[in-house]
Symmetry: C2
């Protein structure tokens, strides 16, 4: 292992971007940093990769520590490693995002980190390159969600079509024709309509749906067969 | 910086998946590893991240060392960091893929690394988790190419529609209806037809095209407006 010995070792950390949906906006969970440098400033939740753990395990550990949640969908979405990106010492940060159903999160406590949810458009000033990390995570969500129905992970088991539309509008920062969106989604067969309405958010009420897990994979594949979609007028 | 001092440092490397298109298949450039462990076995080209360079700079350096190419499209597509993934010492590897126009590559020499192109379906046995890295890069290509026209980077300035179709078929491992594909692509306005034909690959010849760079961005956006495409029958 002579070849390895002459190489420098580096500090490696993970930072977690935790997305949640509150019914109207997609929010990110931030903490107040508890140590120097930059103590007391808003930050993503992170931690160092330990000798006995993989980076994805570090990310799960960090998520659990902050939210109490386990077995949550997480995916790696970037590496930030410019030599001077932190003011303290050089740290290479591997960035993960998590998609959390906020209904499941509500019961946990996080006084220790002074954690708080912020809508995407109201993110406060963050330390280091954490804003760039969030931008990168959103780009990653946009490209993954074009191929896989991952955004449903932000929703509870039963949800309404206006809720899905709002999530897509938040992620792609555009406005849909709601009737058209609803018609296409219904026609796709990927959703199963329940005999129950959400009456809190409109007079008429909106039917609840759940994902048709049998069709899930097949429908994703049927999208691929239509590629390259970006070239279709 | 007391908090940082108690943390363990780790070896960090990059590995590069270099994709090229030879007209019929998408190929990957592999090398024979030049040091222990696993000396002489087929491997992706890699290198350690140096104290003064970002991981993306390491990846560009590694690509240039092997191919002589600079200013090539590269993107990070995964991190492999299980504590025992290498048999020597623990190394966290950040994986990048590059999309190379093989016409530009042909003039460079790589006797030093015994490098060789292999079609995706004929990859030899590789060291460590390098097969998983390639699988991950292909998934990343599939998802990025659903939103951005990055696959055109594998082509020279002028190219034919059958060439594009072959690239998409290789990446998604499916067979297109060629006439339909050609019709949609022509209708999209993203391509400009040249007054010149490739007569080497068919009797009738196939017209050469180039990308309409003015429309490029706009068309990508028009795709986004059709989301969620995966749900459309």
């Amino acid at each position: 292992m002579q070849y390895y010995k002459k190489e420098s070792k580096l500090l490696v950390a993970v930072d977690c971007i935790i997305f949640g949906f509150n019914g109207e906006t997609i929010d990110i969970l931030l903490i107040k940093r508890g140590f120097e440098p930059e103590i007391g400033k808003w930050s993503l939740m992170g931690g160092f990769v330990q000798p006995d753990e993989s980076p994805e395990r570090s990310a799960s550990r960090v998520l659990k520590e902050l939210t109490g949640l386990e077995n949550i969908f997480m995916d790696q979405c970037g590496v930030f490693g410019k030599p001077n990106r932190e003011t303290g010492e050089r740290v290479i940060s591997i960035v993960y995002y998590a998609l959390v159903d906020k209904q499941k999160y509500q019961n946990t406590q996080n006084d220790r980190y002074e954690s708080q949810w912020f809508p995407l458009k109201e993110i406060p000033k963050l330390i280091f390159d954490h804003h760039d990390m969030i931008d990168q995570a959103i780009r990653e969500l946009q490209s993954k969600a074009a191929l896989y129905p991952i955004l449903f992970k932000l929703l509870p088991e039963k949800f309404t079509i206006p809720q899905i539309a709002t999530i897509y509008e938040n992620v792609y920062q555009i406005t849909f024709d709601k009737r058209n969106f609803s018609r296409k989604l219904n026609a796709s067969g990927i959703l199963i309509k329940l005999n129950e309405k959400d009456k809190e958010n409109s007079k008429r009420g909106a039917y609840y749906f759940r994902i048709n897990k049998d069709l899930y994979k097949e429908k994703v594949m049927s999208f691929i067969r239509h590629l390259p979609s970006w070239s279709i007028e």
